[in-house]
């Protein structure tokens, strides 16, 4: 980017770099803090001043995934030796992992994580699938009232979740869809569909019409041209849209809070609910938070060239 534009700016360069470094550090500090807490020994997690240098341990992650009980007496040396490495870290803390037979009893976390994954993946596939077809329809064919229809589609995305949640809750209760994966999938699909249409329309608008016209001349039908010419050309756009939809569904809180409580509960309402009960183990909560945020962080890097387009519903491209 041509940036150094005036003498004043050029002179400030070293200062600017220091300022950039400082700003980056300040912005990342909260994330770094939660990430480091996830590897801290329990005793120093809430120390004042905060402990910066420590030996990282994975105990919080083992605890995150397992159900545990307090040990009444220390384990026998034989039992301690026989335990797998990850269980030793639990035994060291005066607890043992609950088992039924030989099966380790899992905590609720993996289940909530899995629910998030199921709901986010399926709703993304549906929203991007339908959205791509619709975007093609809007992109290639003239239609009276097109702008109004597109506004209508976008406006559904702008509805506050709480406003939609009231009637949806009543309807879901009638049809037995509360606390089901299907219920959340429908809502997240509807929520992401408008976004997907707008974003995909931007991507498809960029594919030259001549490609399809050439295919039509070659004897393809319009449908064949769509599947064999347009879809492959739009692959990058489809992938970017899918990642955005996934992140939205993955992060969604209000609908999940209102419409699920056990079976289909996703991670966002579950993670904060852990601090309501008894003495919370901050390191375990931090571990759960870190694991939950990690996919989004990775996707953000994958998406970095499409972020602007995504947050403006495809209106602004770089």
């Amino acid at each position: 980017m041509p940036a150094v534009t005036s003498r004043a700016q050029r002179a400030a360069h070293p200062i600017a770099i220091v300022a950039i470094a400082a700003a980056t550090l300040i912005f990342l500090a909260p994330i770094l803090w939660i990430a480091s807490t996830a590897f801290k020994p329990r005793a120093i997690a809430t120390s004042v001043p905060p402990t910066v240098v420590f030996t990282p341990e994975v105990t919080p992650f083992v605890k995150l995934f397992t159900k545990r009980v307090q040990l009444k007496e220390p384990p026998t040396p034989e039992a301690y030796e026989a335990a797998p490495w990850w269980e030793k870290t639990i035994l060291d803390g005066g607890e043992r992992v609950l088992r039924v037979g030989d099966d380790v009893q899992l905590s609720q976390y993996p289940n909530r994580f899995l629910n998030s994954l199921i709901v986010a993946v399926i709703s993304t596939v549906l929203a991007v699938g339908m959205g791509t077809f619709t975007a093609y329809g809007f992109s290639r064919f003239k239609m009276a009232g097109e702008a109004d229809l597109l506004f209508f589609i976008l406006s559904t995305r702008m509805l506050p979740p709480i406003v939609v949640a009231i009637p949806m809750f009543l309807m879901y209760r009638t049809f037995g869809l509360t606390d089901t994966h299907v219920g959340l999938i429908i809502l997240y699909t509807a929520f992401n569909l408008s976004f997907s249409v707008w974003l995909m329309k931007g991507f498809i608008d960029e594919i030259p019409k001549e490609y399809e016209e050439a295919a039509l001349v070659d004897g393809y039908s319009r449908l064949e041209a769509f599947f064999k010419i347009v879809l492959p050309e739009a692959a990058t756009g489809i992938a970017a849209t899918a990642v955005f939809c996934f992140i939205t569904a993955w992060n969604e809180y209000a609908f999940a809070l209102i419409l699920t409580n056990r079976r289909a509960q996703t991670a966002p309402p579950f993670i904060p609910s852990q601090i309501g009960s008894g003495l919370p183990e901050w390191t375990v909560i931090a571990a759960g938070t870190l694991l939950f945020l990690l996919p989004v962080a990775i996707f953000t890097f994958a998406l970095r060239n499409h972020l602007l387009r995504g947050v403006t519903f495809g209106a602004i491209r770089k």
Binding site: F27, M143, G145, A286, L293, L308, I316, K318
Partner: protein, 298 residues
């Protein structure tokens, strides 16, 4: 749908397989129908409830009460207080985001090592789940061992335990989350300012301030306005972050709506309040989309 029949019936493809008209309808109608069934129909359904005294927790049929819910809501000082808190939240957080975000963009709009990496890292907060962000900021703000009090050296400051502090604390978190959004749009604007304008200004020996106010600012104003309107709309609806951080102390209108609908189970009245909120949101959306289209045409 008031559409159909503007396609060329003689197009080549019309003679093979599906006609263009069929394809267009088959591609577009399912989405429209889906959105009507799962977004518009529920809203119509709750419009009906907004004129009743229905309570979802009691097995008793709804009674029609006319405009009573709306009248009571609009004359209830508590509700107005919720709107005031929401407005304060919007002004604090969006105002802060515009300043911090624009500042960051000006800072980043130059060549420096690891630019791509740094920019992406700075954008991370806005991609995270607001509920989970709210949770870990609650830990950061902890009065007795939270790192924020330690870093600022302000003892056991209670960030979240009274309405004034909690409003500021949640707005600060919101600023942390969403300044990157403003930064992203502002950076796009800054990089699109034609370089020759700056060269011309330099030849004319224009000062830094003059260049900024006469060249940079006017040219990126449209993008900043998009950021402003979008963030205003989102902040007005805000629920997740203050709900997780301090339900009792940051009573935004969305939180009040949640409590009315799902804790007091005052379904009829909550539906009416939902409609009042909806009208405000749609008004802002309308402005936003008009502006978006305007910028798009440039």
């Amino acid at each position: 749908m008031a559409v159909l029949a503007t396609l060329d019936p003689n197009s080549r493809a019309a003679s093979r397989g599906w006609s263009d008209l069929t394809i267009r309808n088959a591609f577009i109608l399912p989405t429209i129908i889906f959105l009507i069934v799962f977004n518009i129909f529920p809203l119509v359904y709750s419009l009906g409830f907004s004129f009743t005294n229905y309570r979802a927790s009691v097995n008793r049929p709804a009674e029609f009460v006319g405009l009573q819910n709306y009248r009571e809501l609009l004359s209830n000082p508590d509700i107005w207080n919720n709107f005031t808190i929401t407005a304060q939240y919007v002004i604090l957080s969006v105002g802060g985001q515009m300043i911090v975000g624009f500042g960051l963009a000006l800072l980043l709009n130059r060549k420096f090592p690891f630019k791509g990496l740094v920019t992406t890292l700075l954008l991370l907060p806005m991609m995270l789940s607001p509920a989970v962000v709210g949770l870990f900021w609650k830990l950061l703000y902890d009065p007795s061992w939270g790192p924020i009090n330690y870093a600022l050296g302000i003892g056991k400051f209670e960030w979240l335990s009274n309405p004034t502090n909690a409003l500021i604390a949640t707005a600060l978190t919101d600023i942390w989350m969403w300044s990157p959004f403003v930064m992203l749009l502002a950076l796009a604007g800054l990089s699109a300012v034609p370089k020759h304008l700056y060269e011309a200004a330099a030849i004319d020996r224009a000062g830094t301030f003059y260049t900024f106010f006469r060249i940079t600012l006017p040219l990126i104003t449209p993008l900043l306005l998009i950021a402003l309107i979008f963030r205003t709309m989102e902040a007005f609806k805000t629920f997740d972050l203050p709900f997780v951080m301090s339900t009792a102390n940051v009573q935004t209108i969305a939180i009040r709506l949640y409590q009315m609908a799902f804790q007091s189970w005052d379904t009829g009245r909550a539906s009416a309040l939902a409609y009042i909120v909806l009208i405000v949101v749609l008004a802002i959306t309308n402005i936003y989309v008009k502006y978006l289209n305007k910028v798009k045409e440039r």
